[in-house]
Amino acid sequence: MSLSNLIKNWSTLRVKRPYEDQYKDKDYKWAMVIDLDTCTGCNACTTACYAENNLPVVGKEFFGKGQAMHWIRIERYWGENEEMEGKFPDRGAQFLPMLCQQCEAAPCEVVCPVGATHHTPDGLNSQVYNRCVGSRYCSANCPYKVRYFNWWQYPERAWPNPLEQQLNPDVTVRSKGVMEKCTFCVQRLTEAKNRARTEGRRVADGEVTTACAQACPTSAITFGNLADDKSEVARIWARQKVDLAKDKQDKEEDLRGYRIFEDLRTYPSIVYMERVRNFEA
């Protein structure tokens, strides 16, 4: 950003974000809702993400070292407290699809020394691979630990010929030493936005979605534009009384929407809907 630009936009850059109605007059604020009651933990989203975003398969050795590259991972918990209760998990498992929460006040953004990760006008937490120097500070600072580092030169290993032909040309193939993470399938968003702009309109609800939401067999993932009041995502957020700019929601008992680690004031863009269990069964 040049100095002139910096000076020109100083007032908007200086504002503490997020603030009330920040996206009210904006065109886009991408957000997501994940219904944990319908998520079955089937991993279709994970594989869809590998396919869409050129994620490398790291293999057993590197996976064992904790160097896996799944932008969206399905976590499986057996209990809410520090120990599992009872002999069997008789209310089933607790599955949690965890991906970049696209925080409005993202802890990763402030600490990146080179500004490789920043907040886009659409409310996304971006990652610019070719700017990344690989200090991994963002990952250290991410409370959700959803940033994945290219520990090895995966392109040389992960796609032996002809597997490389599957690579999505809209997404960069990351080389060693750069950080990467869920982008909300920004390549799809950009394409849809460009198309809409050419046609002089806003992207319609349902016109674009992320690979995970598109694949999800139970439609547990809903993706859309929070700046558009009529979008499904905005309606769910509103119905669940989750306010993007608040770190504590005042809502009724029977509402299921919540954001993870709200008290850390990261203001995530993903609302999870509580899992429901019939305890009378």
Partner: protein, 204 residues
């Protein structure tokens, strides 16, 4: 070298460093379409193409609209090389040049149903997403500028070349210099807007 000179030298270099730091962001590129020196001229290498295509004949003498052949530019991120049957569509009927070696070559490819292996002249790094469609829609269709000006801003005056050659740096600073400029929203207003200033608009 006297001490005074040494001191002068130090001050001068300091001044240069600071000066460039302050002045650099204010460097103004040329106005769109001016095709004049905008400070980013960088002549690329001569690229040998399978057929030495005369842009000067087609776009220059004949005055064919760039997008007659590069038809994808207005509806896709890439402008695309014209499909072979498009070349043939005209050249089948132009008897006068059929015997020229370049046209003969064209016919050879056509008969073999083989795509011509054109080489890329305007290449961008793989992490960059440049969208022809948006630029054409904005400046050609909405602002109604002449096509040679709109295309020429990045590609130079192709109508004066045979095979195309890169003339602009196509570097980030060059892109940004234009994105920061105030462009008219459309023909009828005086409202202006900038190009996107978001990393993710161009980086993928």
């Amino acid at each position: 070298m006297t001490v005074r000179m040494k001191i002068m030298l130090v001050w001068l270099s300091l001044l240069m460093i600071c000066g460039s730091a302050i002045a650099e962001p204010f460097v103004q590129g040329g106005a769109i379409g001016s095709q004049t020196d905008d400070g980013f001229n960088a002549l690329g290498p001569v690229v040998e193409q399978p057929i030495e295509f005369p842009h000067n004949t087609h776009a220059g003498q004949m005055g064919i609209n760039c997008m007659y052949c590069h038809t994808y530019a207005r509806r896709s991120a890439v402008s695309g090389i014209p499909r072979l049957d498009k070349c043939m569509g005209c050249h089948k009927l132009i008897e006068s040049v059929k015997d020229k070696p370049r046209i003969k070559k064209l016919f050879e490819y056509w008969e073999k149903k083989q795509a011509i292996p054109w080489k890329k002249v305007h290449d961008l790094p793989d992490f960059v997403r440049f969208n022809h469609e948006r630029h054409i829609q904005r400046f050609y269709f909405r602002e109604d500028r002449p096509v040679r000006e709109v295309c020429g801003y990045c590609h130079g005056d192709v109508a004066s070349m045979t095979t195309a050659r890169r003339v602009k740096a196509l570097s980030m600073g060059w892109c940004v210099s234009c994105h920061q400029k105030d462009h008219l929203e459309n023909v009828s207003t005086t409202k202006t807007s900038n190009g996107p200033n978001d990393c993710w608009q161009c980086h993928k």
